[in-house]
Symmetry: C2
Subunit: 259 residues, 2 copies
């Protein structure tokens, strides 16, 4: 069965979507079959992979609310090897729409474990989460075997980390005993910036091996790529951003074998 | 009665908290009495104004859930002229805790209209919103006379704007007829970056006068200031970031007189 990784952090703008898209591209480049599930009502991962808003007839909302089958929602993207279950603004009402449902935290997990989807033989499922610890992120953490936490190398970034770790521990105790931390990824680093180096040093001091050795540098080509509906690996394959996400992909692939 | 401005955008990391803190500082520098209400469970505005997590005995959560009086929650900050109603992670459960409450969208509005608070004579109340269109942001939009929308000069930023505008229109029709757009503030601009200039040009082309003439440049001193629990105006008064937030404050002050 596929490895399911949630990409989550309630702090906004830390690189969750950018990491989901570019890690998917790195894994696909190494020959893995990857599904991206967009759990964010903003739909940025859908846009960044070339599925325009008007092409999202059925979305993750239908998966959660209408028991649609994942195999019916999956679309092609601009990148061979990566498929997508898109999202749009409807998803924003999922919290309220599902408040009475007993199984509301397990809907995504059930959808991924469904036989017809498993038969497609994906190697990885990456779930892009919105910037909150709401029901959408909870669904992703219940469905996932691990969570990858992008951590922007900025002052406010470390502040929310302990809350996120608490939530992960609660989910592991109550709903998903296999949930572990895939790793903490320091993003938008700037070697000339004292604060950025400080945040990375603090993260390594407090989290140790949980922090990926790969860090992602701030690189304008990375922020340009989504406007061409391409990951950085396709938009500018020799950029510093593309290199960093390839190295991250290798770390994610090899972490598994260390199980 | 005070001018109440919500600082909102469901896109994460666009500069909502940074703008709330530094606009408050600019207004205080011109002699206005300012209250900041932190509506974000991350509590970044509280930290950035020097109220540490252990000093937040009562928070915005108590205002919404326990009918606490705003006058009992207000604390001093590191800046004369700015007081704060702090937030912590408890606020994250407000959506679910309040789902059965009839008045759930009006709780903040009622708290701000309360006589003992009004008697304190604040000139401005700035409400820092979390990165979502949940009940917390809805409360801020119902309580506010206007909404200031930080727009990061990046590709994904424009995508969420139409959804936010729809929400503002819905709130104006259903709960708060006086709600208007204070302005759209282009943040983290970089004059050497083609994409940044493009996003600003697009914003001005589609939104016209709604966009403040002041833009906020990306300035590392701005991101360092919160680690000293100070706004940029106090941390580095002659920096490009401080200048920009002073100019923004003047625009906000003068917009009112144009009514
Ligand atoms: N390494 C990088 N270099 C330069 N820009 C980056 C980098 N990573 C991300 N960005 C840019 O920073 C912004 C925030 O990134 P992104 O949207 O991926 O964060 P997010 O955590 O998904 O945000 P949200 O919380 O809104 O979902 C985007 O405009 C993106 O293009
Ligand atoms: N003009 C600027 N120059 C440099 N860095 C900035 C600037 N404005 C904001 N930042 C930094 O960018 C990051 C995001 O800003 P901020 O936290 O204010 O955004 P936000 O919209 O409040 O985020 P969230 O969606 O998580 O609430 C912070 O680390 C902040 O210090
Ligand atoms: Mg995102
Ligand atoms: Mg904020």
């Amino acid at each position: 069965t596929p490895r399911v990784i949630a990409i989550a952090n309630q702090k906004g703008g830390v690189g969750k979507t950018t990491t989901t898209i570019n890690l998917a591209a790195g894994l696909a480049e190494f020959g893995y079959k990857v599904l991206v599930i967009d759990m964010d009502p903003q739909g940025n991962a859908s846009t960044g992979l070339g599925v325009a808003p008007e092409a999202r007839k059925q979305t993750t909302y239908d998966l959660l609310l209408d028991q649609a089958l994942l195999i019916d929602l999956i679309q092609e993207t601009t990148v061979p090897g990566i498929t997508l279950c898109p999202a749009n603004a409807d998803l924003a009402s999922a919290d309220i729409d599902l408040v009475a449902s007993e199984k509301r935290s397990f809907l995504l997990s059930d959808a991924i474990q469904e036989a017809r989807f498993l038969a497609l033989g994906h190697d990885f499922v990456l779930v892009d989460c919105p910037p909150s610890l709401s029901l959408l992120t909870v669904n992703a953490l219940v469905a996932a075997e691990s969570v990858l936490i992008p951590l922007q190398s900025e002052f406010f970034a470390l502040e929310g980390l302990s809350q996120l770790m608490l939530t992960v521990r609660e989910i592991r105790k109550s709903a998903n005993p296999r949930l572990r931390i895939e790793g903490v990824l320091v993003t938008m680093t700037d070697s000339r910036n004292r604060l950025s180096q400080q945040v990375e040093a603090d993260a390594r001091a407090t989290l140790g091996n949980m922090v990926f050795s790969t860090t992602i540098p701030r690189n304008v080509r990375v922020s340009e790529a989504p406007s061409y509906a391409l990951p950085i690996l396709q938009y500018d394959p020799s950029s510093k951003g593309a290199d960093a996400y390839r190295r991250l992909s290798l770390e994610v692939i090899s972490r598994k074998s260390n199980g």
